[in-house]
Symmetry: C2
Subunit: 302 residues, 2 copies
């Protein structure tokens, strides 16, 4: 088994790149109109990436699937932030954000990543979280149960730990609202006495492979639901909150902006149309008010 | 003259509150349809403010004019940030952001403020800056000349210094673009050997009083200009940059979010409708491309 204990960075990189292709293919099938454009970019200091984008698809108003594999000297900001000792790094991953047209189809985000400093210091991170414009409790249960099923195969504590991590991470402090219904979020999954790095890789793969069945289910279920101008108005306001989170709090975005990352790939996550209204308060008893009440940490969906 | 050398905080506060009323009145006249709503709010720790907002006016899609006067114990974040020694503070000011419907009417921002730690430590700050969706060089000259005329009455270096300060401050680092054509920005204008605090107050008043004639001129000149879907599309993209600046860099916004300020008043500056498109590149030779080329630091408009 030792041969499997430490996946090579090439193996991990190939998996992520293949994952990007397979996800784009499946999403094109689900959208039935949108085709992913491909932008390949190089990083001056080493490596690069492939950004794939649908704009104005049939189901998806904007969808981005980023793959990147970057390496070289550790940027100073990274060294300081993580208090790294080493000189070189290797990082690869896939990041996804999808904004649908229909307000009843949720926004989804997934990220899976691998970071390596040297042979002995490497870890996986990632997660999936869902941001419904209107929270449907049955769908929220379906989503969390899907993630819990994966987590439970690896560790009885994983779901509870990673679910709380997502609640804490995807939190818009100045609004005292969660971004959506959370999901799972994890980082620094290294090899330890319980799990080899290969075990970590298997877990991350299972999470990544869950993306398509989960999201295509949510698309199929909701894409044809009729909606009104009021639903659309609320969707644009919720997208505003999404922007607030990503620009004010998201660690990946902040880090990318501070370290001269490729801006268009970093900000691909921002929604196509957004609005801010002054002090919008949902009507008492409305579906909008119900959603707001559910944008709280610590809700046990399953 | 000594009686005039140090304006009282009541005098300054009254001026700012009156300024808010007069500006709102003049802008309602210019809009001809929108009426400012009034939200009065209290700050638990001392003081409060009045937020006044037009949404969906005739000329202005969203316009906010904030007045506040807050005081009490210095918040810890403020103490650390400014390395203050004192215990108490008093801060008052007016903040304005206006987003017009017509893409040929620029976005405008003004802030004038007074900050006092004790009898001997007090200063004024503020500025006006303009964010045209389409830069018209003649208008840019008019705008900068208006501000320079005021600055020149007080000090031959003021315009150059405060113009550079605005260029440096209203800069979207990750885009390497200025937010707009700048204007003037100044802070920490204390009493010194050359100017009494009353002189500083007079300067700030002249800047504040320039807001209405400048902006009503720009409104009258452009509000009826015909525009196409392409102009509107570009306006929404430029508004996206405005959001990026305000959420990622603006010191007032960041400070407000970190110190539990009144969120709706702080984020009143965010535009009504905004969009982000992936990697939008203006056509060669277009008005959009011309504008982008002029969003640079260090352009001498006058």
């Amino acid at each position: 088994m030792q041969a499997l204990a430490t996946p090579s960075k090439e193996q991990i990189t190939n998996y992520f790149q293949d994952l990007q292709n397979r996800i784009c293919h499946a999403i094109e099938q689900a959208d039935r109109k949108g085709k992913f454009l491909t932008d390949t970019w190089q990083r001056l200091e080493g490596g690069g990436g492939i950004s794939r984008i649908i704009q104005q698809g049939q189901v998806l108003e904007k969808a981005g699937v980023n793959f990147s594999a970057v390496f070289g000297e550790i940027p100073e900001a990274l060294r300081t932030h993580f208090q790294f000792q080493g000189e070189k790094f290797y990082a690869t991953g896939v990041s996804i954000v999808m904004h649908p047209h229909n307000p009843f189809v949720p926004i989804i985000h997934m990220n899976v990543r691998y970071f390596q400093l040297d042979e002995h210091t490497a870890w996986f991170g990632g997660g999936i979280d869902l941001t419904p414009h209107y929270i449907d409790e049955e769908e929220a249960r379906f989503f969390h149960q899907s993630l819990k099923n994966i987590c439970d195969k690896y560790h009885t504590n994983y779901y509870a730990t990673f679910k709380k991590w997502a609640d804490d991470y995807f939190f818009i402090k100045h609004r005292q609202e969660t971004r959506g219904i959370g999901g799972i979020f994890f980082d620094r999954l290294k090899a330890d006495s319980e799990f080899s790095l290969y075990d970590r890789f298997l877990f991350v793969q299972e999470v990544a492979e869950a993306f398509v069945p989960i999201y295509t289910h949510l698309i199929a279920k909701n894409k044809n639901r009729p909606f009104t101008e009021q639903h659309k108005r609320w969707q644009l306001l919720r997208r505003g909150r999404y922007v607030e989170f990503n620009l004010v709090y998201d660690a990946g975005t902040k880090f990318g902006l501070e370290t001269n990352g490729r801006i268009e790939s970093i900000l691909m996550s921002l929604p196509p149309y957004v609005s801010w209204e002054y002090n919008y308060v949902p009507q008492s008893g409305s579906a909008e008010e119900k959603t707001l009440k559910l944008l709280k940490k610590g809700i046990e969906w399953v």
